[in-house]
């Protein structure tokens, strides 16, 4: 029973991303040893089989490789929740500017965003971080672990920087391509 096998076993039963320190504590080894074991596992999975290691939401989790998506999608028939342009837009703003109030989101977008924020909170992409110490004490929103997980992000640092105002965006190809 090597550390590699033990780490594999823990990741196999974990139902969410597991942090290195959690693994180290569970197996009573150093985080460095866990790192090494993870590397071995990673190359082992890369060689063969449908399983891979992914780093997301600040932890490590086993998943199937993307090339199995079609078969698995047909087998599990997951209900993919569609996300409208405005939901994505609000999510992008919160991800980048958190903690942020509804009023501040609306100031950026120039439209009522109450509905989008509520839906995103219901889907556990956003949650309340506290209240802003200004009159009215409005709720401050931030993104959740679930957000990182659903967008395959390991941390918020991976988000690209927003393009500053006034900067000309390269035109997107029109419908005529």
């Amino acid at each position: 029973m090597t550390i590699v096998d033990q780490v594999h076993a823990l990741l196999f039963v974990a139902d969410s991303p597991t942090k290195l320190d959690q693994l180290a504590v569970a197996l009573n080894v150093t985080e460095g040893q866990i790192e090494q074991a993870i590397e071995v596992l990673e190359s082992h999975f890369a060689q063969a089989g449908p399983v891979q290691l992914v780093r997301l939401a600040g932890g490590i989790q086993l998943s199937t490789k993307p090339e199995y998506a079609e078969i698995l999608g047909a087998f599990l028939k997951p209900q993919r929740q569609r996300m409208s342009r405005s939901l994505l837009e609000v999510l992008a703003i919160v991800a980048y500017r958190q903690p942020i109030t509804l009023g501040e989101i609306e100031a950026i977008r120039g439209v009522n965003s109450d509905y989008s924020v509520r839906i995103l909170a219901e889907r556990h992409f956003l949650h309340e971080l506290g209240r802003k110490p200004v009159p009215g004490r409005p709720v401050l929103y931030g993104t959740t672990q679930q957000f990182l997980h659903q967008f395959k992000l390991n941390s918020l640092d991976q988000l690209p920087a927003p393009v500053p105002e006034g900067y000309e965006l390269p035109a997107l190809p029109g419908p005529e391509g």
Partner: protein
């Protein structure tokens, strides 16, 4: 947007009680008394969104302050009528509780001009979400309780084990009387002992045990072997009519 206040009481009941005092209302969308406004709104003959309620409220305050208030019922009725209108309008102003119209997801040109700054992030999120949709994870409740996992005991059945235990017990000597405060042996210690003695060769339980043992000791030996089998650290097989154990 002139609003006149006239204080002549009417008795027609719009609220099923005393009619509101007639505040005469003159607005682009409506001209008439408060009770008339109340009626047309209730019958949905006018779009309340076109009727500013602020001047009406102001008039009502003026009326409350200046009128002699001989009839508090009238003032109260007017207040109820106003409250109804305000509530109706407040509901109209709330966002409609139905899903937003579906927009083609990757139509990034439709991002609000004010949020253009965030377009790169929206683009990135769109890509990552598609990539993420290709990954599947083990579900939260997948798999049996790891502590209750099945283990192979080759051709050994529960009955074989029971028989083996019975045989061990038959040879046991009655328990010696021990002082009550004697610490109980732990199963863990017993398991360690079994692991030390047992080798790769299959042997019956009695070969491991000392020549003489009590019933309690027999139970400990047996439990230790069972627990080790469950943990996969000891394997068992039936040879003839004896159960034999070994290290895997």
């Amino acid at each position: 947007m002139a609003v006149a206040v006239v204080g002549s009481p009417k008795t027609l009941s719009a609220l099923g009680m005393v009619a509101p005092t007639d505040l005469e209302i003159k607005l682009p969308a409506f001209e008439g008394s408060l009770s008339a406004l109340f009626n047309v709104v209730r019958e949905r003959k006018i779009d309340l969104m076109d009727v500013p309620l602020f001047p009406i409220c102001e008039s009502y305050f003026k009326y409350i302050l200046t009128a002699s208030l001989e009839n508090l019922d009238e003032a109260a009725a007017a207040l109820s009528a106003l409250a109804y209108l305000l509530e109706r309008k407040a509901w109209l102003l709330l966002p409609v509780d139905e899903p937003e119209p579906e927009v083609v997801e990757d139509d990034l040109t439709s991002i609000l001009p004010t949020a253009q700054e965030y377009r790169v992030i929206v683009e990135a999120l769109t890509v990552w979400r598609d990539e993420r949709a290709d990954l599947f994870f083990r579900s939260a409740d997948a798999g049996p309780d790891p502590y209750e996992l099945p283990f192979t005991i080759s051709n050994v059945t529960a009955l074989d084990l029971a028989k083996a235990f019975e045989r061990v017990l038959e040879r046991a000597e009655p328990n010696t009387i021990e002082p009550l405060n004697k610490p109980r042996k732990s199963l863990q210690d017993q398991m360690a002992l079994v692991l030390r003695i047992l080798g790769k060769e299959f042997v019956p339980l009695t070969d491991l045990m000392p020549e003489r043992y009590t019933r309690t000791e027999a139970v400990y030996w047996f439990l230790a072997v069972l627990e080790l089998m469950r943990l996969g650290q000891v394997v068992a097989r039936v040879e003839g009519d004896t159960v034999e154990f070994a290290l895997p």
